[in-house]
Structures are given as C-alpha cells and as structure tokens.
Amino acid sequence: TIWTNYQSVDDNMDELPEEAEKEMVDITAILDDGAKSLTVSNPMLCNTERFNLQDAMAALELMDPKMDCCEIPLSEVAPFGVKVDGDNDRLVFPRPSPTGLDDVVDPLPWDELTNLDAAHILIENMIRLESLLGGASVVESTYTCLYAHKPVVADMKQRLTGPASNDNGKDKQQMKGTLAQNVVYASTLILLELTDTIRSIILNADIYEEEDFTVSTYSMEVFNDRDEGSVVNTVANTLEYMVSEIDDKDTDEVDVIAQLLKYKLDLLAMSTTMARLNGKNVRQAVEKVQSMAKQSLQALEKLCPTIERLENCKPDSAKAIIRRVFDSHVNRPLVGNAPVRAIRFQTFQDSMAFFVKLTRDLDWALCRMMLKGDSLDRIRRMLFIISISESNILIQSLIVLNLYFDEKIFGQYPLPALITKCIQRQFHLPDTIFTNQYAVAFIARMAKPMYDILKVMVLNRQRQRAYIEAVMLIDWTTLIREAQLVDSALKQENPGAAPYFTLFALTISIFLMDHSVALGLELDLFCSEHEIAVAYWYRDYLLSSLITQLSTIRQLKHAHKAAEAQMAEAKSKAQRGKKKGGKHNKKIANTAALPTIEDIEDDYEFLLMNLKRGLCRGTVRFMAAVNQAGLVKDIEYGFTSKERIFEKRFEAFQVMPQPPPLTYADYQQGSDFSTVDQNELLKSASECFKASKNMVDKLQSQMKGIDSDFVSTSETDLRQLAKISVGNTIYLAKLTQMVAQSGKCSGGLDIDMESSVQFCTIKIT
C-alpha cells in the first residue's frame, strides 16, 4: 500500500537501481566552480534587465522540499487511525494521481463499498463542491476526490455500463455492479458536470475576482466522455436502481443518497436553465426554477439533521475509506512551485449551510428579482439588498448573465423604456417630452451607464468602491454636462420646462458618491476617530444634497400632478353640463391626485434617506461633543497631515460639478462647534438620535403596507438602526452627566460598528 511505501522510503533512499545510476551525471564540480566565482559584494550569478518581484517570488530553490519537490507532511497522508507526530512527521512526496480503480500504488475501494460508505462519499463530495464555490481551484477541490480522476471514471464507466435497451421509447442502460458502486459513479459524474457548469457560468459572467474563483485548471486531465444528458440519465437510473434494490428505504443512508443525488440534479438543472434563458421563455423558465429552488431548499433543510446523525455515527470503516479516497494533496505537483494557498475544507455542517443559502439565494436573489423587478427603481433597490446579503459568486454571475440579454433588462424590458418610465414617473411628465429628439438621444446614451449602476451592485462590496471612484463618477460627470445641454434645448422649445434630465443625472451621481463613502465605513477603512467623524460629516453633506435634489423632483411632481388634476377638473366642469361623462371625468380628476404604489415606495425611500442623514448628523455632533470634552487625543503626524489625508480620501469627488467638492477647510468650518455651548451641543446631538428613532418607528410601521421586496432596507436593518439611535442617546446622556460633573472628562471611547454595517454606536468608557 502507499503507506507501506512511505514508511520504507527513507530506508531505500540511498539505493538506486543500477540503470538509474548509469544515467546520472555528477555535476558537483560544475556547481562548485560556479559558486567560487561569486563574492559577497557581487553575489548574482546571472544578469538580466528585468527581474521583478513576481519573478523573485516564483523562483524556487532546486530540491527545496516544499517548493521544488512539493512535499507534504507525512501526517497529512497517514491512513485513518495512524498517528504521526513530532520528529516522525517528516516531509514526503504526495501520492501520484490514480491510474484506475486498481491503482498500482493504492487501489481504490470498490468491491468492499457499502451503501453507508457511498452516502459518506456523497457528503464529502458536497464539501469539495463547496470548496470550489468558495474560491479553491478545481485541483484543490473537485479533483481531491480520487474517483473524479479521468482513468478512474473511465474504469468505473467500463465496469458499470451494460448494454442499452429501449424502455417505452427511452434509452436505458442495464445496471451492473452494486448499488454502492453505482452511487459512487453517479455522484462522481454529477460532481464533474457541476464543476464544468459552474466554471462556465462564472467565466461567462466575467465579474469574478481572485478572492472568488480560481481560473486555472493547472492542466488537469478531465473525463470528457460525457454530456449533461448522459450524466442526468445515469443519476436518474441510479435512483431508480436504488428503489428496486433497497428493501428498507427508511434508513438514513438511503435518504441521504436519494436526497443528495436529487439535489445535485436540481442544482445542475437550475444553473443550466438560468444560464441559458432566452427572451421567449423568460418568465416561464424562471418560475419553474423558482419552484424547483423552493422545493430543493425544503428538502435540503429537512435532510440536514439526517446528515448530522449519519456523520456523528460514522464508523471507523467509513472514516478509513474517506481518508483513502479523498486526498487534498494528490494534485500538488500540478499547482506549481510558488507557495500555494492553504487547502481548506469546511465542516459538513458549514458546507450544508452554504448550500442552503445558495439555494435560498437562487430563489430570493435571482428568480424573485427577475419576476418582480419591473421598474428601474425597484430593480436598483432589490440589487442593493442582494448586494448586502453577500451571495456566492455563482449567484452573482447568474444575476449578471441575466441582467441584460436579448437587448432587454432580464430579457423582458428594453432599457431605454425603463429609463423613460422612471424619469416620467419621478416627475409625472407627459409623453410629449420623451418624443423630443434630444431626449430620445440622451436616454439612449444613458443606457450603458444605467446598466453599470445595476451591475456595480453585483460586484463584491470591496470592489464596488474602487469601480465607482475610478470609472463611474467620471462617466456621470460627462452625463451631467450632456443632460444640461438637453435641458437647455428642451427649455428653448418649452420655456416652462424644468431641468429634468440634469436633476435625474445628479441624483444618480450623488447616490454613487454617498454609496462610496458608506462602503468605506462598512469596510472599516476609516480607522481613527477623526477619520470616522470626517466620513459621517461628508455623508451628511452628500445626503443633504441628495435630499435637496429629490425634494425639488418631488415638488415638480406634485406641481405637475396638481396641474393635471386642475385640467381634469376644468374639463369635468365643462362637461358637467352634459349628464353623460360628468361623473366619470370627476373620477379621473380624483384618481390623478392619488399616489401610486411606486409613489409610496419612493416616499418610503425618501424617509429612509432622511433617517440616514439624521444618524450621520447626530454622529458628527456626538464626535464634536466628545472632542470638546477632551476624550479624543488630537494627533499630529510627522510625514502627513489631516488635510492631506482628506484631500486623498475624497480625491475621486474632485471631478463632480455638483455637489461642489469639499476641502479640509470646509470640514474644519463645518465641524467647528467651539462657539456652541457644550450642553447645547450635547442636546442637539441627542435630538438628532431621538428624531432618528422616531423615523425608524415610522418606517417600521409603514413597512407593513409595502412590498418589502421593493425597499432598500429590511426589518433587521431597521431594528439595528433603532438600536444605534437608542444606544447613542444613552451614551450622550452619560457624557452629559460626566460634563456636568467636571467639564473636561477623563475616559475612553469605543466606536462600535457591530450593530450596523454603516452606522456606529459611540460608547463612552
């Protein structure tokens, strides 16, 4: 066995076969001469024009055990039950890739496989699949299952595939071998098929980053004598075989085998369906996938306790088999010589929890959004919430693939039409504005940037900020300028026209700026008390600008609606002379004044924005109060300054025409409460948080009357914000007490962001 080979390798190291001795050339003298030519002052053996850090890190020392020889600790490959520790844990070569079931080095378990073993192998395969989806390469995840290696799969296929027969028009393979063997074969095939499908989806979407997904397959040879159809058939046949073979179907291992195989089939079907939608079958296909996702989720959640039971009672024989057939290091020589990432696998509990979330996200994040998101604002808000939920790269990729295809959003809505509808609804504008040639051209021009607004929400949170600041803000600066030209042209035709397109473009760009600062807080990039105060101060400024623009839009909308209602009323009055039509026109006039469901959603979002602004303002005042009380040390830096830091932090905003970019002097002026009485300042801060708490209460009660899918917050978020409002109020009271006792205080400060991702509780210690 391989273990015997490892144990004897030290004894045999000095004894080479005669043939090998004859082929070897002693180059010691050559290396000696080369080394003698080096000096301490000139130690470089080679001269090259370009030798960068990457070359240096990838270079290897010949015969280095880890980097050149890819050796691993013996304890990593010791069989189950054999303990190797301390001085005995030497480095050894990984086992070679298996050449078949009857591998020369270590034959794989086959004839002795039981149904229980097969169930445990299935569970372990789920752990490997989770590792792939968690960012590991295929050779460090899927292909750590030795059954998945090409010669082994070919061997299994040859042993288990009988002649085909035609059963009621369906091609059916005659089943050979035991049920356990067929389960292992089917499980391996579907693991390979899922691996390829997942990779294909992620590569096509092309939004992955190195933390999500490893592109390289390291030239791993893959068993390709299969296709989706044949794999699905094999798994289906195995399930049928199980039904016919098993007398007692009510055992945990049978349940696990059946449910996990079915889940993998469903995951494959859902992924391939969502990756291949076309404009003709969108809703039907998505509804089908949603239904499948809900059923799969239910089945998976029901299965988890069964898996837990099975794993907790895993016999030693099964543990030994798992140890033999899953080898984390078998592909190590393929990965190359540079230091490699640690191979890691989750526990079975965490892996199952991962798949539960994945399946839930297929329903909630993907299907639900495609079926319900029918306007730009609704889609944007849904994506905002999905972004916070940290979906897996597979879900993110499927969202991007389906965001825009067949020249439509979700394959259903032409983007220019959605933009038109959005602007029209926001301002309550007539159709005539959108027939203007400049308006039509500008809306077409806005399509790609609007698509980017949606797509950026699908990127990893830490990548969104970089993309917004490096690319999107510059795009929208240009758009604002173009919007001003369009509005100018429209005003020439209609002197009463307001700058609709400019206002629309401005609200989007200010939203991006605020989102960028908010992400900085969420990612903990603002690391000192001073920086945090600056961030909230800037957010207060941006949110105030956004609220001002939105207020203007709302006022214009209200004015347009009032004008429309007036016209309808006038028309109705004129027609009231005739009995027919009088009451109908009055009804139209009244209906025009009623808010639509989307108007109510907009009002909700507006209140939410006011809440966030209130929290920012309260935080700024709280920090100012804390400074006044002497609880924060003012730090001066030798090599930089707060002004320089401010300039660099908000450098990306310099390109924006509106709101005007701020300087550190603006911050100093805006945050200077030195002329304000300490108690007044504390009271003012407290008022901000009390008002915020009231707004949270209002939002919580209003949420009951709104479809929660269409707002960019959740019950949980609101509870967190309530906690922060109350917490800060309490600590302000504490500080007020301290100040009343002694004026300048001694004590500490702890800025706690545990309760909410973007807002903090300032704890006085």
Binding site: V40, M67, N460, Q462, L525, Y637, F639, T640, K648
Partner: protein, 167 residues
Amino acid sequence: MEEKPTEDSSIEFQDYMDESQLDAVMLLVTQDLSEPYSIFTYRYFLHRFPELCILAVDDGKPIGCVVCKIDQEEAIQNGEQRVMKTGYIGMLAVQSSYRRRGIGKALVRKVLERMKEMKCESVMLETEMSNVTAQKLYQRSFGFIREEKLVRYYLNWGDAYRLRLWF
C-alpha cells in the same frame, strides 16, 4: 552608516551592507511572517534597494530590520493618468525580546525619511486584518490610512488591509 537612536541608547541603526547580513535579515523576518518567502524574494529587495533596508543592531547583533522598495505607480488624478514614485514596506521585524521599546517605530521612521528624500509621493504596505499591533503602529504613529480591504489576500485565506501614507 551608523546612527545612535534616541529611544534606546544601546541600539544602533545601520544600513544594509551586503550578503553577509542576509541570513540575519531572513532569520528576523521568518520568525514573524505568516507566509514564506524564498531567498530570492529577500535578494530582490536587498540587492535592488539596499538603501531601503535598515537594521537595528544591539552590540553588533541584528535584532530588528525593515526591508522596502520603490515602484513606479500609475495613478489617475483629476481624470488624468500619471506616473508617481511609491515606496513599499515589504517586511518589518523586531526580535520578540526587544519589542515595546520603540525600535519598530524608529525603523519605520528612518525608512520613511529616506523614501521622502528619494521623492516618493506615498508609501504603502499590506497588513493582515488581525494584526492590530501593526495597524496601530502605522495608522496612529504615522498617519497611514486604510486604502483598500483585500479579501482572502493571504495564502492562509486571511484578509488584509492595504495601508498608504501620503507625504
């Protein structure tokens, strides 16, 4: 060049001389580093930028070191692309028995002075999210800011912050 420190009079600071000090540098750094570097990585830094490796020495024995380099970095400023010199702190290590004496801080200060003299506009480094001590040193003492969060940056899947100091 030898300098006597102000914080601890027994410790002297010396510039890296040559290969004879390479082993000492490697030993100091390997003790604290979460990820392995090959000898070639050390040589890259030390041969290309010997003036940016400073050792803290006690009675002739190296007990701390800082190893750095300078890169040309492309940046976008006010919508325009330009190239700027950026310093990079690759390794900082102080022997455990010599810690909490300001030696690490002194090493960083000296190398920042040097980078500033060499016309760097900024200096950056990466540090593990869990390395609170390093973050305190760079952020509180020198004004480095957290520029970016690097998820799963290290070989052990750990996250990191990219820190940057703007001169």
